[in-house]
Symmetry: C2
Subunit: 574 residues, 2 copies
């Protein structure tokens, strides 16, 4: 089956989790009226359903193809991308002075969700441009902003993030690409980057690479990194793409999934003629990288929701159509649709609850982006705290839901033509890129727990406690607080050993809090009775069953690192 | 890296979990001396490493190919299969009167583990023949046994299981293939079967299809099903393959994984000239099917261990070689091998513990097969109780460990050339085939809890309690007993709603019990110190961290089915 945008759900979460009405009451976001929100949700859903979803199988089966440095997308992709640009779907939250619509980021999140549910691989092209925009807004000169922002905001040009080199993955500071000043303000860029998403393609008229590199004599490690803007085509005097810039796509990867997304090896300056422009201060690259990265991390977490939604829709559809076996203990011996069998229904409700829980967490974080833009410093800190949760928990549940989707299909789930397996393959990258989930967990226990002297976490816990009713949920919040208290004085090893289970516990507590709130809101609310009943069932499943599961991680979170080092690394191979 | 058979581990589990010494003390299994066991473990490991493992990538990349009804395996497969036959690796536990070696089934399990770790897709060819052998031993006439068993036992001919039809998957009773008596004892077979593993190939001189079909006027459902032996080639007067038998491979599936295993659509009797032989009594098909199926279910559970072992070996190897980032909190700023980082080490120890836990459970079940063959009725019942656990838990952890293996590789895990992704794709079929894991859970709460009036489960719980020391493990055993007590008087819906979490809880309790036993045995044992230290670390991780996780499923197991049916099935699409 094809994708149907979950508009009721998106609207409900915007209202009760993001509290978009609060945003619309501000001068900055006054345009985000209820009617405008409805129009965007309906329009974005229809666009994704009509333009992106029909290309999802071709994206997987044909995929991006490389030949002699040129990357060709399957038929239909360029037209669909042009429709995205013409529809203005990329400019929703861009600043109005550069042609954007100035609407809340939370709405851009909904659009991104629709695009990725429809076609995850393709949507990566849309996903990385906003990071380049954010970095330029934060660090570009007025001239740079004027030259690059308008066409990035429309999507006429796309953006990339160039961090990774073969020896520098999670350890970005180990990168070796060089940037040599030319004396006229420009830099000559030389080096090879790997794993560059949409590093080359035929969808847009220019590609704006944001490249981390080292200037001559730069300090070692992350402190010596600077950020450069390196276009595929240089601009002429009128600001139009003109001459090429000595950036070559050497190859693309043969991957498990997201075949529609060309993952490029890019070689800069093979002919010593690659020009880059410094963005922000020299050695300010790592800070600029986090601006790009934090945006991308929320969006990668959102990919878990995208695939969770798509896989759930397909599994529900299959389970309602596939007739097999009578219902045990039922009055009739006639075979029924498999959705009638308790364990299939359990899987489907679990898929619903996980997807809704992660959506609540990520939309909530998106709402903090908007509040931070309004100058709310506490919201900025809360966003920073929630970003690793959004990325890691969102992608973890995306993988689980996709796997459950395969399982609901039985043997047909393993046959590629059915499509369930594609979601399972596509989403598996999400716990890895933009900082592995292990890196997210390290970020949580390393940087984020201590934000504002611990007050950021304390405020979140206080907010959760003030609203949470369920005894199990309150117990999980208590456990989270106890683990955090324990970790505050723990060794680095012990903190890191606890990091992943703690991240999951905290994520489930936050999602459980936001789900329980939605359950209360759904009780007695006006709207589609089927949607509201399903919402309440998903909330109860989340709170009654998923919250206690997360409580089961308490022992791991408190276990410490001693056991991990009880044997020598060589013994792991024994 | 290539596969290295975990001989120390296999030997240790045979000694302390299977207690193979007890088997060798019987007259029937006297040949299973310690020296013989060592020779088999070493030899099987070397065979799998040398013949099967080198073909694993080609099996995935080239795979089985179909053209005009003929299935061709990649180069090297036929020679490796012939080496398997010549080495006598298929005949270890076959009855001596038909050319087998009469050794314990537990040893055949070790051989199967090695073959599947080396090359899971290929090893399916080896995996299904034993089911055909078991069915013939149980139900064949003396003439049938003499005609078919010897060459199935050597592996010169291979066996298949033909159950599924497009409308009859989990609901086997819905099948429509017909068998019409010819008057001379033979039957004409007509129908189409799908998802037939190694239903056609070029590895062996004949293929022995065991086919479920209906005779004229047979009752509806499973009670009207009979089992037929349908060879690819009929035998001449000397018992050699001669004329073809109107069985045609119509197509093979395009699958997520196990590309080396041709999954066939088989058409029987297109030209009205397909002859089958009744195996066992008319309408005795479903009982015969369970004989084949139960064997296959243990072996499918074992596939989780196979891939768990292989994925863990590769992840450990990568983590010891890949240098990235300094260790947080460590004295040096030099980058280290990623196995030094706590969260990577946590993943690797988790992979070790899960794989060892599932191996203990499945080898233990295999030991019950041998005790049942010795006439121990309680062992037969315990085997029946453990079979759904072995199948479902083994395959679930196989998928989890393969996913962790991808994660340890970071971005490289998503690149197909690395190989980690193949394990992730290959193992995903295992929770589905030979009865989905949901069917296993239904079997557990439907048939198995009540075995011997509940005494089978009670005896298992008593054995676990008599030996378990750890407080968390004892608490899990208590919880398992409480859930089982609750389910005994629960409605069919409530039992089925609880079935999956309960299956996981009981599996972890059994594996935890057997792991804890191994931990005690390893303390002070003689042998490789690295292996013994690693065993103790894996045991502690299992007991201290995985057991409490399973305890977290208690709420789900007690929740009942009401919530699942709180909303109409149509609301799942709302």
């Amino acid at each position: 089956m094809t994708y149907v945008a979950p508009v009721s759900e998106q609207r409900f979460v915007l209202e009760h989790v993001v509290k978009i009405g609060e945003l619309a009451a501000t001068e900055k976001y006054a345009a985000a009226s209820s009617d405008m929100v409805d129009a965007i949700l309906e329009g974005a859903g229809q666009f994704a359903e009509g333009e992106y979803a029909p290309l999802n199988r071709a994206g997987d089966e044909i995929g991006a193809r490389w030949k002699d440095g040129v990357v060709t997308m399957p038929e239909g992709f360029r037209a669909a991308y042009q429709a995205f640009v013409e529809g203005g779907w990329g400019s929703i939250n861009g600043p109005e002075e550069f042609g954007g619509q100035g609407l809340p980021y939370a709405l851009a999140t909904v659009i991104m969700e629709d695009l990725g549910s429809a076609n995850m691989g393709f949507s990566l092209c849309n996903m990385l441009t906003p990071g380049a925009i954010e970095a330029l807004i934060a660090y570009g000169t007025d001239e740079q902003k004027a030259a690059w922002l308008p066409r990035l905001i429309t999507g006429e040009w796309t953006g990339t993030m160039n961090l990774t080199e073969s020896q520098a993955g999670s350890d970005v500071g180990a990168l070796r690409t060089t940037a040599t000043p030319l004396g006229d303000g420009g830099f000559k860029i030389k080096g090879t980057k790997i794993f560059i998403t949409f590093g080359e393609h035929d969808l847009a008229d220019n590609i704006v690479h944001l490249v981390l590199a080292r200037t001559p004599g730069a300090p070692a490690g992350t402190r010596g990194i600077s950020l450069f803007l390196v276009p595929k085509f240089r601009l002429d005097a009128e600001g139009r793409p003109a001459g090429t810039n000595d950036v070559r796509c050497v190859s693309i990867e043969h991957k498990l999934g997201i075949h529609a997304s060309p993952t490029c090896v890019l070689s800069f300056g093979d002919n010593d003629d690659c020009i880059g422009h410094l963005i922000g201060p020299e050695f300010g690259g790592i800070a600029a990288m986090f601006v790009m990265m934090n945006n991308a991390r929320l969006n990668v977490g959102l990919q878990g929701v995208q695939i969770g939604e798509r896989a759930t829709q397909q599994a529900v559809s299959y389970a309602r159509e596939r007739i097999q076996s009578a219902r045990a203990g039922g009055p009739s011996r006639d075979p029924v649709a498999i959705i009638e069998h308790p364990d299939v229904r359990r899987m489907l409700l679990r898929m619903k609850a996980l997807t809704q829980g992660a959506r609540a967490l990520i939309y909530y974080a998106a709402g903090q982006v908007d509040r931070a833009h309004l100058g709310d410093e506490a919201a900025k800190n809360r966003l920073d705290l929630l970003t690793p949760l959004a990325k890691a928990y969102g992608t973890d549940i995306g993988c689980e839901v996709a796997s459950l989707g395969v399982q609901v299909h039985g043997g047909m789930g393993f046959i590629e033509e059915t499509g369930a397996a594609q979601y399972y393959r596509d989403i598996r990258i999400a716990p890895i890129y933009e900082g592995t989930n292990g890196i997210q967990a390290a970020d949580l226990v390393g940087r984020k727990l201590g934000l504002d002297g611990g007050a950021t976490l304390a405020a979140l816990i206080a907010d959760m406690r003030a609203e949470a009713h369920d005894a199990g949920l309150r117990a999980l919040i208590d456990s989270v607080e106890a683990v955090a208290g324990h970790l505050a004085s723990a060794s680095a090893d012990d903190r890191l050993a606890a990091s992943y289970p703690f991240l999951t516990m905290l994520s489930v507590a936050v999602a459980g809090w936001l789900m329980e709130r939605q359950g209360r809101a759904a009780s007695g609310a006006e709207g589609d009775p089927a949607f509201l009943a399903m919402k309440q069932a998903a909330v109860r499943f989340y709170v009654d069953q998923l919250v206690p599961e997360a409580q089961g991680l308490f022992a791991s979170a408190m276990a410490g690192a001693d056991l991990l080092y009880a044997v020598d690394e060589a013994a792991f191979a024994a």
